[in-house]
Every structure is written in structure tokens, then in C-alpha cells.
């Protein structure tokens, strides 16, 4: 199955896809921003500050999703020795890091009007900060070791250690008394959020996912060309 995902075979798709993904992203983001900033109602407790949720929550979801995907791909890549999966993981990381930083910064901005402070060493916030450090370690490891066996091993170890933090982030609001509110959306037990707020939230999440796809495709193409440049040197 993996042979269908070889870089040589899929480059014709990955090199053409970014412009279509960018167009779709701009359309979805425009709808999401209009809904989030104009049409969605204010919260009865938090007032208009609740609108920060439309960038904070999708950013947090996407960064967690990307780190989980990176870990899964790295483990599979390491077990079955598939270099392309490492290339995919490496290309996913920059957008994951940026989304993680967005989640922390927008959370901090949201914290000031609702909690009265920019920062608290709360379980959820601290565990998200730790995830940023894992993203940085992961990217620095690639920078130090380049594309060789040592890089595959070290980055896989970093992701395995980092993934332990992901369920801690998810359940921190249930396990400890935190300033951070518990999750309003649960796939299994339904959500406590009204559809007028759910629609912009899901639209913004779709826009963020498209943006990470766009960045992934551009980064993946760049990495492939980098490899081909080395190939030309050897000719």
C-alpha cells in the first residue's frame, strides 16, 4: 500500500494542490470570520470576549491533532523503515507549532478579561506550554541531524515522549481543579454549545485544518526538492 505514497508518484499531485487548497482556505476562512466576528451571538456570561474561542479552540485542536499524527507516522515509519512517513511528519510540524503558539497567546488574551490575569500556571495551560517545547525539540532535532537514521530515531523518541502529554492536556480540566473551563464539545456525549456558536467554531476549525494542509503541502514539496538537489550533486 505504501508504494502508492512514494514521493516520485505523488509529487505531481502535491505540487499542484496548494493553489486549490489556498483558494478553498480563503473561502472557508472568510465565511468563518464573518460568522465569528459578526453573526454569532455574545455569551450571556463572557459577553463578546467569547469570540476569541473561534481562534483559540481550533488552534488548540489542530496542534494536538498534528502532534498525534506526527507521533503515529513516526512510529509506523520507524517500525517499517518508511522514510517518506518521516518526511510527511517533518512537513506537518511547522504548522503544528504555530497553532500551538496561537492557542497559548489567544488563550492568554482571553484570560485577561475572564480570569483577570494574562497567565496562570494552570494544568491545561502548562501542559500546552510543554507541548510547544516538544514541537521545538522535534524541529531542532531535524535541524541538527538532517535526513539520516539518527534523526529518525531521535525524532521518534521525542514524539513518543511528547504524546504522553496529549491525554494530560485533554483530561487536565477533569483531573485537576483548573481555571480553564471544561470542554464544551464531546464527540461521544454531545455538546453543551448552541448551534449558533457551534457553526462558526466548526467552520473556523475547517479553515485551520485547510491552512495546515496548505503549509504541509508546501513544506513537503520543499523537502522533496531539497532531496532532489542533493541527488543532482551526486550525478
Amino acid at each position: 500500500m505504501f508504494k502508492y505514497f512514494e514521493p516520485n508518484k505523488i509529487f505531481s499531485i502535491t505540487s499542484r494542490a496548494p493553489k486549490y487548497v489556498l483558494l478553498l482556505f480563503v473561502i472557508i476562512l472568510s465565511i468563518g470570520l464573518t460568522e465569528a466576528l459578526i453573526f454569532s451571538p455574545e455569551d450571556y456570561k463572557q459577553g463578546h470576549s467569547v469570540r476569541i474561542m473561534y481562534v483559540h479552540v481550533p488552534a488548540a485542536w489542530t496542534s494536538l491533532g498534528i502532534f498525534s499524527a506526527i507521533t503515529f507516522l513516526s512510529i509506523i515509519g520507524y517500525i517499517f523503515k518508511i522514510r517518506n512517513l518521516f518526511l510527511i511528519s517533518k512537513s506537518l510540524a511547522p504548522s503544528g507549532l504555530v497553532f500551538n503558539i496561537i492557542a497559548l497567546v489567544t488563550g492568554s488574551i482571553w484570560g485577561k478579561p475572564t480570569w483577570g490575569t494574562w497567565w496562570a500556571w494552570d494544568a491545561r495551560i502548562t501542559s500546552m506550554l510543554i507541548l510547544v517545547l516538544f514541537y521545538i525539540m522535534y524541529l531542532v532535532a531535524w535541524r541538527i541531524y538532517e535526513n539520516n537514521e539518527k534523526a529518525f530515531k531521535i525524532t521518534t523518541i521525542i514524539t513518543i515522549l511528547g504524546i504522553i502529554n496529549v491525554p494530560i492536556i485533554k483530561y487536565s480540566v477533569d483531573w485537576w481543579n483548573t481555571l480553564h473551563q471544561p470542554s464544551s464539545i464531546n464527540i461521544l456525549s454531545g455538546s453543551s454549545i448552541h448551534v449558533s456558536m457551534l457553526f462558526p467554531l466548526l467552520t473556523m476549525t475547517a479553515a485551520f485544518a485547510l491552512f495546515s494542509l496548505l503549509i504541509f503541502l508546501m513544506k513537503y514539496n520543499t523537502e522533496l526538492i531539497k532531496i532532489k538537489n542533493k541527488g543532482l550533486d551526486r550525478l
Binding site: 514521493p7 470570520l33 459578526i38 463578546h48 470576549s49 469570540r51 514539496n221 526538492i225 543532482l232
Partner: protein, 75 residues
Amino acid sequence: MINEILLMDGYGLYVWTAFVFTLLSFVSLYLVIKIQYIKETNKFVSKFGTLNSERSAFAKSQKINREILYNISKI
């Protein structure tokens, strides 16, 4: 109406700062990755230009190299 959207009952500064920070992060990341992409493709073209006809023909026999050159012509 415009004032209401901008001020948001005193929360405008927080809300707009969060959204502007997010969009600026998007634009910055996009530009950084785009610059890296252009730099690598330019490097590829200059290296390709230094190859003699035999090596150039061999390199062109690989589909991915042809694709890269095709995409560069469209940048």
C-alpha cells in the same frame, strides 16, 4: 453598527488582538515556507543548468525532476 463590531462592549481590544495575531501568524508562516520553497527551486534550476547534456538528459528522465522544472516555469 461598525462601532458595535469594533468596540464589542469594551472587549474589542482583546478580540481584535487575538484575531489579528492569528492572521499575522498565518501570513508569516505562509511567507516563510514560500520563501524556502522558492529558494530550493532556484537552487535546483541553477544546479540543473550546470549539468552537461548527458547528465541533464539522465536527470530529465526522472518524472519528479521534470515536474519540478514544470512547476518552476509557473512560479
